[in-house]
C-alpha cells in the first residue's frame, strides 16, 4: 500500500487542478443495521453498546476513503457540544490533527474525559461559561470514546481518521463523497466499533462511482 498512495498523490497533484470542474465522487447506500428505535427526531443520536460494540442509535455509518493524500493545511476546528446530558453530535469523524472544541451547553458541570488509546485526555469540570472553550487535538487515528465523569451514562464517539475524505451517512444510509482525487483507493464504511467494511475503488476523473455497502 505504500507505493500505491505515492502514485495517487502524484496523479492528484498533476491532474487535480486541471480537472477542478468535473467532480470525482463516490456515492451509494450503506445498508445500516435494522433498528427497532422510533424514527429520529431532531437528529438526536445516542451511543449504544451491545456486547461491547459501540454504535449509534439510530444507526449511522461513516464512509471514508483511505489512502495517502497530500496534507491540506490545518483542518478546521470541530465541535462536540454537551447538550441535554448528551454529546452532540454523538458520532464525529475527524481528520487526524483536528482540534475539537467541547462547549458545555447545559446548565451544569460536565467533565469530559477519555481513556481511549487513541487519545487520553481529561478536560476537568467546567460549566457553560468556561472560556476559552476547552479543546483537544486528535493526532492518532482510532476511535475515541468520550465520557463524562459526572454523568456516567454519557457517551460520545470521535472517529479519528487519517484522511480528509469522509462523510456521515444519513439515516437511510445514503452517502456521497465528492471532490475526490482519482486513483486507486480503499473505500471504508465504519458501522460500529467492531465493524468496518471496505471496498477497493478505482476513481476516475469526473466520474461518479457507485458503491453500496455491503
Amino acid at each position: 500500500m505504500k507505493s500505491c498512495p505515492a502514485l495517487a498523490v502524484l496523479s492528484a497533484l498533476l491532474l487535480g487542478p486541471g480537472l477542478g470542474r468535473a467532480d470525482t465522487a463516490v456515492e451509494g447506500i450503506v445498508t445500516l443495521p435494522r433498528t427497532h428505535a422510533a424514527p429520529v427526531m431532531n437528529q438526536r443520536y445516542e451511543i449504544i453498546t451491545e456486547g461491547g460494540i459501540l454504535s449509534t442509535n439510530p444507526p449511522l455509518a461513516v464512509v471514508y476513503l483511505e489512502g495517502t493524500f497530500p496534507p491540506a493545511g490545518d483542518p478546521p476546528v470541530q465541535q462536540v457540544a454537551q447538550k441535554d446530558f448528551a454529546f452532540l453530535p454523538a458520532l464525529l469523524p475527524v481528520q487526524v490533527g483536528t482540534r475539537v472544541a467541547f462547549p458545555n451547553l447545559d446548565n451544569t458541570y460536565h467533565n469530559i474525559f477519555s481513556y481511549s488509546p487513541a487519545k487520553r485526555f481529561d478536560l476537568g469540570r467546567y460549566r457553560s461559561d468556561e472560556r476559552p472553550i476547552p479543546e483537544q487535538q486528535f493526532d492518532t487515528p482510532g476511535l475515541v470514546v468520550l465520557r463524562c465523569d459526572i454523568h456516567e451514562h454519557m457517551r460520545g464517539l470521535i472517529l479519528v481518521l487519517d484522511t480528509p475524505h469522509f462523510v456521515v451517512t444519513d439515516a437511510a444510509g445514503h452517502y456521497r463523497l465528492g471532490r475526490l482525487p482519482a486513483g486507486h483507493y480503499t473505500l471504508k464504511a465504519w458501522l460500529t466499533s467492531r465493524t468496518t467494511l471496505e471496498r477497493p475503488v478505482d476513481l476516475r476523473d469526473g466520474a461518479t462511482l457507485h458503491v453500496d455497502f455491503p
Binding site: T49, E50, G51, G52, L54, F113, S114, Y115, S116, P117, R120, V145, R147, C148, D149, I150, H151, E152, H153
Partner: protein
C-alpha cells in the same frame, strides 16, 4: 372443766407433739415445694433475661454491623460505578486503573497509616485491589498506592471467578513481628455499562467492626474466626488459641450457619455465640464469635438462690412458730375432749363394775332360789310321803287324821310354791326361753274350763265364754297353759260365792286379746300394781289358798311370750285381767 390439779393424760402430750410434728412436716413440705418452684421459676427467668440481654446485645451489634455493611456496600457500589474506573476497564486503559482509583478512592482510603483508629464505625478502607474478569488480582504498579499487601495476602483475594454479587470475606494478615490483623473484605462486582456483564471486581479491605467491651454494656466481646484462627483481641493469646480450636470443633460438629454453647473462657464461664458472616460468599468462610461472660449472671443467680434459701429459712421458722401456736390452740379442745373422755371412761368402768356386781348378785340370788327350791323339794316330797304313810295307818284318831290331811295339803302347796319359785328363778337368771310353737288357744282354754268345772271344792260359779274357734297363738304350750291356769284359778279363788266368770278371746290386728273376768271383790286402787309383785296377796284374807306368786309368774311369762298381762278393770261389780298373745302366722312354723 378439768380441774387444774389433774394433769392431762400422757397420751395427750404425745398427741400434741405428733400434731406439731405433722404440721411442721406439712409446712416444711409446702415451703420446700413452693421454694423449689419459685427457685426454678426465678432461675428460668434469669436465664430468659440473660438470653434476652444477650440477644439484645447481639442484635444491636448485628444491627450496627448491618448498617455498616449496608453503608460499606453502598460506598463500594458507588465506587464501582465511577466512570473513570469503567473507562479504564472498558476502554483498554488498565495502566490507568490504579492511578485513577487512587484519585477516586482517595476519600475512602484510610488517610493515615494503619495506626489511626477512627472508631468502630470506621468506613475507611485499608487497601483495595481490582480483580479481572477471571477473578485474578490485578496487582497495582506500586503497592503503596492501593494499600500494602504481601503477595501471599494478595493471593488470598483471588476468587475462582469474578463475583456477580457483593461478596464478604475476611483476610487474615500476620505481618512478621506485628500483631495479627483481620481485614473485612468486600468484593463488589463492576458491571460494564456497555455490555451489562461483570468485567471486574473492586475489592476493598476495611478494618473489621469491633464490639469491644466499652461498647457493650454487659461485657459482650466479639471476635472473628478466620481460617481456623480466632481473633479476639480482648482475650489472652493462649486462651484465644484454645477457644479458637474449640470453636473450630464446634463449627465442624454443628454444620450450621450459627451455633451457641456454654464454654469456659479461661476461668470464666461464658455463653459463646458463633455465626458465619459470609454464608454465600466465595471467600473462605469466616465466623463471628461473640462471648458473653456469665459471671455476673451466675453471681446474680447465686445471690438470688441465697436470698431464696434465707427467705425460705425465715419463712420456715415463722411457719414453725405458727404451727406451734396453732397446734396448741387446736389441741386445746382435743385436750378437753381427752380429759372428758378419760372421765367418761372411768365412769363407765365404774358403772360396768357395778353392773357386773349386780349381775353377779342376781345370778347368785337366782342360783340361790333354784338351789333352795331343789333343796326344798326333796324334803317336802319325803315329808309328804311320810304323812301319807301315816294316813295309810289304821290306828289314827280321826282328829289326827284330819290334821295330817291338812299337813299333806300344805305339802302340796309347798311344792307348788317351790315350783313357782324355781320357775321364777330361772326366768330371773334369764335361763328360761320360750320355744315358740303353734298353740291352739281355743282348745287349751276349753280343757282348762272343763277342769275348772270339775273342781270339787269350787264355789257355785257360772262360767261364760266367748271364744272363737281356731285361735292359734305363738307360744309354748306348757307356759301358755300356766298363764291361763293362774288367771282362771285367780278368777275362781277370788270370786264371790255364786259369782260369774267370763272368758273372752278375740283376734285383733296380729294379736290375740284374752280377757278373764270375775265378779270378785274389787282390788283397791293403790294395790293395783302391787298385785303383780311377788308374794303379794290381796287383802281378801288368808282363807283363800295361794302364795302370791301366780300373777307375777303369769305376767313374766306373758312378757316372755312377747305379750303382756294387765289389770283392765276392777270395780265393785267386775274385775277383769287382759292378756295379749301374738297370733301365730297362718302356715309358717314359728321360729
Amino acid at each position: 372443766m378439768t380441774p387444774p390439779s389433774e394433769p392431762p393424760p400422757s397420751g395427750f402430750a404425745r398427741f400434741r407433739v405428733k400434731l406439731l410434728v405433722a404440721m411442721m412436716l406439712v409446712v416444711s413440705l409446702v415451703t420446700a415445694v413452693v421454694l423449689f418452684f419459685a427457685q426454678r421459676n426465678v432461675s428460668a427467668s434469669v436465664q430468659r433475661e440473660l438470653e434476652r440481654a444477650f440477644e439484645g446485645d447481639l442484635s444491636s451489634l448485628h444491627a450496627a454491623e448491618e448498617i455498616r455493611y449496608a453503608m460499606l456496600a453502598e460506598r463500594c457500589r458507588a465506587l464501582a460505578r465511577r466512570p473513570r474506573i469503567h473507562a479504564a476497564l472498558e476502554d483498554g486503559a488498565l495502566d490507568l486503573l490504579y492511578p485513577t482509583a487512587r484519585d477516586e478512592l482517595a476519600d475512602v482510603m484510610d488517610p493515615g497509616d494503619q495506626g489511626t483508629d477512627a472508631g468502630p464505625y470506621a468506613f475507611h478502607a485499608r487497601f483495595y485491589r481490582f480483580l479481572d474478569g477471571a477473578g485474578r488480582v490485578l496487582s497495582p504498579p506500586d503497592p503503596q498506592m492501593a494499600g500494602r499487601l504481601s503477595p501471599v495476602e494478595e493471593a488470598q483475594l483471588t476468587l475462582p471467578a469474578v463475583p456477580d454479587r457483593l461478596q464478604i470475606g475476611y483476610l487474615l494478615q500476620e505481618p512478621p513481628g506485628g500483631p495479627r490483623v483481620v481485614d473485612e473484605v468486600i468484593a463488589m462486582p463492576i458491571v460494564s455499562t456497555e455490555t451489562g456483564e461483570v468485567i471486574a471486581a473492586l475489592v476493598l479491605g476495611f478494618k473489621p467492626f469491633e464490639a469491644g467491651g466499652k461498647y457493650s454494656p454487659v461485657g459482650l466481646k466479639s471476635g472473628l474466626w478466620v481460617q481456623g484462627r480466632l481473633l479476639l483481641p480482648a482475650l489472652d493469646p493462649a486462651v484465644e488459641a484454645a477457644l479458637g480450636r474449640r470453636v473450630g470443633e464446634a463449627m465442624a460438629a454443628a454444620r450450621a450457619l450459627e451455633t451457641s454453647f456454654t464454654v469456659n473462657v479461661g476461668p470464666t464461664p461464658s455463653l459463646l455465640f458463633c455465626r458465619q458472616l459470609n454464608p454465600t460468599s466465595r471467600f473462605p468462610p469466616a465466623f463471628e464469635v461473640c462471648i458473653y461472660p456469665l459471671t455476673e449472671a451466675l453471681a446474680r443467680e447465686r445471690r438470688l438462690s441465697w436470698q431464696f434459701v434465707s427467705a425460705g429459712g425465715l419463712l420456715l421458722l415463722a411457719a414453725f412458730a405458727a404451727s406451734h401456736v396453732f397446734s396448741r390452740r387446736l389441741s386445746r379442745p382435743v385436750e378437753k375432749l381427752a380429759v372428758d373422755s378419760a372421765e367418761n371412761h372411768a365412769q363407765r368402768q365404774r358403772a360396768e363394775a357395778a353392773l357386773e356386781l349386780t349381775n353377779q348378785e342376781l345370778q347368785r340370788s337366782a342360783r340361790f332360789s333354784a338351789d333352795a327350791s331343789h333343796q326344798l323339794k326333796t324334803p317336802v316330797t319325803v315329808l309328804r310321803a311320810g304323812l301319807e304313810e301315816l294316813l295309810a295307818g289304821e290306828r289314827l284318831a280321826p282328829d289326827a287324821r284330819e290334821e295330817i290331811e291338812t299337813l299333806v295339803h300344805q305339802t302340796f302347796r309347798l311344792t307348788s310354791v317351790i315350783e313357782d319359785l324355781l320357775l321364777l328363778s330361772r326366768m330371773d337368771a334369764g335361763r328360761l326361753q320360750i320355744a315358740f310353737e303353734r298353740v291352739d288357744l281355743t282348745a287349751l282354754l276349753e280343757a282348762f274350763l272343763d277342769d275348772l268345772g270339775a273342781l270339787p271344792d269350787g264355789p257355785d260359779l257360772a262360767v261364760e265364754t266367748d271364744i272363737p274357734t281356731g285361735l292359734v297363738i305363738a307360744g309354748e304350750k306348757r307356759y301358755t297353759g300356766l298363764i291361763l291356769q293362774n288367771l282362771l284359778e285367780n278368777a275362781r279363788k277370788y270370786n264371790r260365792p255364786g259369782g260369774r266368770i267370763r272368758v273372752t278371746a278375740r283376734a285383733d290386728d296380729g294379736w290375740c286379746v284374752l280377757t278373764v273376768g270375775n265378779s270378785g271383790h274389787p282390788i283397791p286402787a293403790e294395790a293395783r300394781e302391787q298385785i303383780f309383785e311377788r308374794f303379794h296377796r290381796g287383802t281378801m284374807g288368808e282363807n283363800v289358798p295361794g302364795h302370791g306368786l301366780g300373777l307375777n309368774l303369769a305376767r313374766e311369762l306373758a312378757r316372755l311370750h312377747g305379750g303382756d298381762l294387765r289389770l283392765s278393770r276392777s270395780d265393785e261389780a267386775w274385775t277383769e285381767f287382759e292378756v295379749r298373745f301374738r297370733l301365730a302366722l297362718a302356715a309358717a312354723p314359728l321360729a
